[in-house]
């Protein structure tokens, strides 16, 4: 079971920028949708929804630090479908806005596998997903 869940987590790591829903990721693990979310949380300590959010926010932090792309472009680059959802999620996880984060942080000089893990934000996963989607399709809101 753990190996299949890891395969699903790896799939989220690879395809974070694509529209993903719980059903398609659960299919990678060959587990039913409801059982997948429970098992994932029991194994990795957070819901698949939250893991994907942190993966996307981690990539956006990288792009904010290392590139000149606009916040809006970065929002879509990492798989969010609305700037409002991106800004709210980023602030909730990182504790500051994307613009403030960019202003305070420059490039990181460390091997890829290290900074991917080291810079991935750690936040309490108390916020439950509101639907079976991963939140990409939330209605647009003010940033």
């Amino acid at each position: 079971m753990n190996r299949r869940l890891l395969r699903a987590r790896d799939a989220m790591d690879r395809a974070y920028a694509e529209p993903l829903d719980v059903r398609s990721v659960a299919a990678v693990a060959n587990i039913s949708e409801a059982h997948f979310s429970r098992s994932f949380r029991a194994t990795f300590g957070e819901t698949p929804h939250r893991y994907l959010q942190r993966r996307r926010v981690e990539r956006s932090m990288f792009l904010l630090r290392e590139t000149d792309r606009s916040v809006t472009d970065i929002c879509f680059d990492v798989g969010f479908m609305s700037l409002g959802t991106f800004s709210r999620t980023f602030r909730e996880i990182v504790g500051e806005t994307p613009s403030d984060y960019r202003a305070a942080n420059g490039p990181v000089m460390a091997p890829n596998c290290i900074w991917m893990a080291a810079t991935r934000p750690r936040a309490a996963s108390s916020v439950a997903p509101r639907s079976s989607s991963f939140g990409e399709a939330d209605a647009p809101a003010a940033p």
Binding site: N2, R3, R9, P111, N112
Partner: protein, 142 residues
């Protein structure tokens, strides 16, 4: 002064399956394969490199049943061992591994300031990264 890393160990769930993967898929060579009673000391190594990778399986005689079960859980969720290898041609190797039937890639070759690397997992969940060092990284390490 220590002058060489002789053996490093990784945990696998099945030694025969590990040997097949690391030799026939990844391209390492078999090192030592010695039985002492029920214990099998099995190593692989990069061809031409003396450092042995010990393929260790949780269980008797090294672990009690409960410890072995915990280790198996951790291995399968990717929380135990990892290896980093070097190559002169990471993109060529990526194609070769695909031709050999490797599918469990975690990252296709991507360029970074220190070189180009890719990621995959062995059949049990252990993370493997393979790096082709870039010119900047070579200067830094020299």
């Amino acid at each position: 002064m220590i002058n060489k890393l002789n053996v490093a160990s990784i945990f696998v769930l099945d030694k025969d399956e590990a040997l097949d993967f690391y030799v026939n898929k990844l391209g390492l060579e078999k090192g030592q394969d010695v039985k002492q009673g029920s214990y099998r000391w099995l190593t692989v190594r990069v061809p031409g490199n003396g450092t042995e990778i010990n393929l260790e399986q949780p269980g008797s005689p090294l672990h009690d049943d409960a410890t072995a079960a915990q280790l198996r859980e951790l291995i399968a969720k990717g929380a135990m061992s990892s290896l980093v290898f070097s190559t002169d041609d990471v993109r060529g190797l990526y194609e070769t591994l695909q031709e050999r039937g490797v599918t469990d890639f975690t990252q296709e070759p991507i360029e970074h300031f220190y070189g180009t690397d890719m990621g995959l997992r062995d059949p049990f969940g252990n993370a493997i990264r393979i790096l082709q060092q870039g010119k900047v990284a070579q200067k830094v390490t020299v």
